[in-house]
Symmetry: C2
């Protein structure tokens, strides 16, 4: 059962390939009804499906983009991806998804392979370690948008959270609620990981701006697996801060595990606030005050910029999206009657 091609259709309909091609591309203008009918019948009878590959070869467009992320399992990624896919669906584009696990080597390989596959553009959550390659992509005028992180030295469209503002919102709220002893929990400082760096630095600035000194012990920048021991140490020496700012969902989970282990009351024993609006924030007890990233908007903008790049010239632009502060109960004023808090003695 060989694959049926345009030639087969043409033969059966007693016309030439070109006529069939015209028909498929709806260039009916000078086509007799009779011919149309015969072609339609032949297509139906042979169950003919045009081979998009051949068309792409000719037209130099695959209607496919590559999206390269660290890990599709992260909520941020999933949501951005969903928004991108929605946009692509509207344009009859397809999305190839790749996970790098933040490994530059995997990233390089994916970019190379997708490039070879002639994808029409890339949306990348960059590891930041393939600067030369990113440069080559730009030289080749390959549409490219960075999300979540930018890359120093590459002038490309980038869609990022306004990290500084996000931290400011959180710190300011804690201060307003009367907290002075505020800790931070984050993964290790790494210069090329923009969001992390920006958030850690913004935390220092924000405290200083409010006239609060930064207690070194309370700034935990550690691999996620080692965060528990750092928290334990503080607990054992009775030096817990009053409030903790978790810079993302992963670190938040560590904090909550710690809280549960010691049956601390939130917010009375420890106020908690985080960036990333985890799905259980509102059903957790107490409900969690969070600073949400506008993930769907990020994906939408990334896709829009990519399409703009594909349709001609646009100059690279940096988008800093506003975080959304979602007040719930986990960082309310201490001692305030907290309906949903839960303390056992």
């Amino acid at each position: 059962m060989r694959k049926v091609t345009m030639a087969d259709v043409a033969k059966l309909a007693n016309v030439s390939k070109s006529t069939v091609s015209q028909y498929l591309n709806k260039r009916y203008e000078y086509m007799s009804e009779e011919t149309k009918r015969r072609i339609a019948e032949a297509i139906e009878e042979l169950q003919y499906r045009p081979n998009v590959l051949a068309r792409s070869l000719k037209q130099k467009s695959t209607a496919t983009i590559g999206v390269i992320v660290f890990n599709i399992l992260h909520m941020l990624t999933t949501q951005v991806l969903r928004a991108i896919e929605d946009m692509c669906q509207q344009h009859d584009f397809h999305v190839i998804v790749c996970n790098t696990d933040d490994d530059p080597e995997k990233e390089r390989k994916y970019i190379d392979m997708l490039w070879a596959k002639q994808v029409d553009g890339f949306i990348i959550f960059p590891t930041g370690k393939n600067v030369e390659l990113y440069k080559k992509m730009q030289e080749a005028r390959l549409p490219l948008v960075f999300v979540d992180r930018t890359v120093a030295g590459i002038d490309a469209d980038s869609v990022l959270l306004h990290n500084e503002r996000a931290v400011q919102l959180g710190v300011q709220y804690l201060i307003e609620q009367g907290y002075k002893h505020i800790g931070l929990v984050a993964p290790p400082f790494a210069p090329h990981v923009i969001p992390r760096t920006e958030r850690i630095e913004a935390f220092h600035h924000a405290l200083r701006d409010h006239g609060v000194s930064v207690e070194k012990e309370w700034v935990i920048t550690e691999h996620v697996k080692r965060i528990p021991e750092r928290l334990e140490a503080l607990f054992n020496s009775n030096k817990l801060p009053e409030a903790i700012f978790a810079i993302n969902d992963l670190t938040l989970m560590e904090v909550l595990a710690f809280v549960k282990k010691h049956q601390l009351a939130i917010p009375n024993d420890l106020a908690v606030i985080s960036i990333d609006d985890v799905p259980f924030a509102s059903i957790y007890t107490p409900s969690l005050t969070t600073i949400a990233q506008p993930t769907f908007e990020m994906g939408k903008i990334a896709a829009e910029r990519l399409f703009m790049q594909m349709n001609g010239e646009t100059s690279p632009q940096m988008f800093r999206l506003a975080p959304m502060f979602i007040e719930r109960d986990s960082a309310k004023k201490r001692g305030e009657k907290n309906e949903s808090s839960c303390h056992r003695s």
Copy 2:
């Protein structure tokens, strides 16, 4: 800056296209070192990248598969997808991801377009409403694996949770813990949605097998948005069951929201158990007893089967994967000292 092709490389290296092709395909056997070197230099100098599209056209393989899911935002989907992508990465395959939102029309369109794009196979979370199309795919010997649901009348590889066993595990545990008044929370019954149907039916069977009668009021099969009012009604008439079985993560969230609203104590006021191991299960208070789906294994098997189909003949097979029971605190025996329970009066 025209695209550089093999011909350009050949010219610069002073050899013919075929020699370059040989080189690229590592058929070095009869090639002089000198030639190799010249070709390598030319490739480097011109920044040549082979056009995989043209190759695919010739070789009838795109090294790309299509994965069509309801919604990438669901945890099940994301995890299965991650496993699939990992397998594909090992085989140098790429994954195109599509969201149908359970809309048959979108599904049809995606299948058509990806088919036209010559993908080498499909992994589908089927809406179940495109039976004729699935059949055509099989007739065309297009590799195809269903995940999460099967489709009646289509004899294809399918990877599903052993839903009946999952429900049995949960019900049996609840009974063992002394619960007799057990409710179910599920989306509306829909015949073609296999997991839902199987779980609801298995619930009835399991209760009967344990000599417990099924209280109609306690079996809530309702659109997620209407679940709250059903629960409210029970609460207001003081007819809550002792325990609730949530058949998936979405319904679990509704139950937990309800529990929070009325400040019920889990498990003393209401025991809770669910299928789908939500990420916060262990940090929630009390920690949640769940029945986990082996999502990564599901993805792995789906991909393996797809590759097997691509490599020749295999007969369609149904895989029923064992659920994993994860005992935590949310469905412990009533009155038992529950370290992590939390009750305020």
